[in-house]
Symmetry: C2
Subunit: 264 residues, 2 copies
Amino acid sequence: MKKKVNAAILIIGNEILSGRTQDKNIVFISNWLNSKCGISVKEVRIIPDIEKTIIENVLLLSKKFNYLFTTGGIGPTHDDITAQSISKAFKLKYEFHQEAYGILEKYYGKKKFNDGRKKMAKMPRDAKLIYNPSSAAPGFMTKNVLSLPGVPSILKSMIENCKRYLIKGLKIHSKTVNLYTVESNVAKKLGQIQKRYKKFVEIGSYPFFRLGKIGVAIVTRSTSLSKLKSVNKEIMKLVKLKKNTNFKNLNQIIYFVDINGLYI
Amino acid sequence: MKKKVNAAILIIGNEILSGRTQDKNIVFISNWLNSKCGISVKEVRIIPDIEKTIIENVLLLSKKFNYLFTTGGIGPTHDDITAQSISKAFKLKYEFHQEAYGILEKYYGKKKFNDGRKKMAKMPRDAKLIYNPSSAAPGFMTKNVLSLPGVPSILKSMIENCKRYLIKGLKIHSKTVNLYTVESNVAKKLGQIQKRYKKFVEIGSYPFFRLGKIGVAIVTRSTSLSKLKSVNKEIMKLVKLKKNTNFKNLNQIIYFVDINGLYI
């Protein structure tokens, strides 16, 4: 029987911490794990390119969660130290991976296969490769840790190749009800509903601004579709639809309800 | 004398972890701290709206760094539990803050000041307010922890009001050299330069794609402007500028050097 499976993401890179670069990998990995594998991301950390820090976090997060995804630090330069740090963390030899070496040598040609490029074939002993269809240099899996590059376009091209290594979890269903009202108008009743469904459904409430109107997105998530439906029935009870209400049923079952239709 | 001052950011919110929402606060806070306060962000964590998890992380990060910024979880709904979690973490009473209560009551008017809105005036005892010019509900500072809302536009409007509570650190200077080449062409020499300046300058190397060309951004950061200049002189030695090289001196002193001008 399928069960709940979770993961953490460890973003390794000074450029994200310094604010120079906007991270785009968290949203992508989390959505992919959710929708394709039924795996929930439960924690994300962003840390600098410091060996000691990487080792500590890899050990802690790989123990705490079913899977750990790392991004960044697997390129050819001096600040790319993810592979040797993971080797040290798990006390594994940091050495050339024969298949990875072959892939890279073929990709660059023997003449242009310099030391920097060779470095990308060095991994913790017995790492499993995550193939890279866009720029050859593979990612790798060590124990339950999957290491991917930081460049979002390359990471995206590789993610499907992680699937073979992952156990699928229970699908997480999600439904969003968008109300044109303010959070504090629904706070009390929502809190009561959440209390009753505490164990089964996660209810989040997020303010938004759209087309000059203030609204609240009420996002419900659960591995049980029937519980999710019950909760959303209760949420919809808070709402009285007017005749001329703008009501839409989209992909994810999203309702737009005018503020005037809301009774609390 | 000014010294190095650091900070961590704790993003509290299921919506960021699930991939539903793209975080924009990390880049903004980090850049602001860097440029306006000379404070470096050294770690970021994204965690769910779970009291125990918030308490653990607040205690750990507030101890490890000079300042901790939290975002999210200070609104009116049941999933907004940052204020009570921080109260518990520091064993402080969670109670109405008189000034915050007054601000909110005035903003909403007595009649519309319902329980959800009143909740936004509850804080850890003796919290210092971070005023909110856009939607009234203040953030607050408890010990060295500054709590801000998750909505980026509101957070942005409040950030200047954090300044009075922060000790300024040494300014971090940064210079970026953009080369049209590939990382592995510069990896070896860059590593040698980094080794020599290990204690003073942080050198990062980040691939980019621009106008169909592949390039590497070499980002150097240091609190010493002279050391930064020396390092960049060495980096520029790796580059031979051609007559018709596209050379630009922009705000942050950015050079664009054609791949043909690069000798390694």
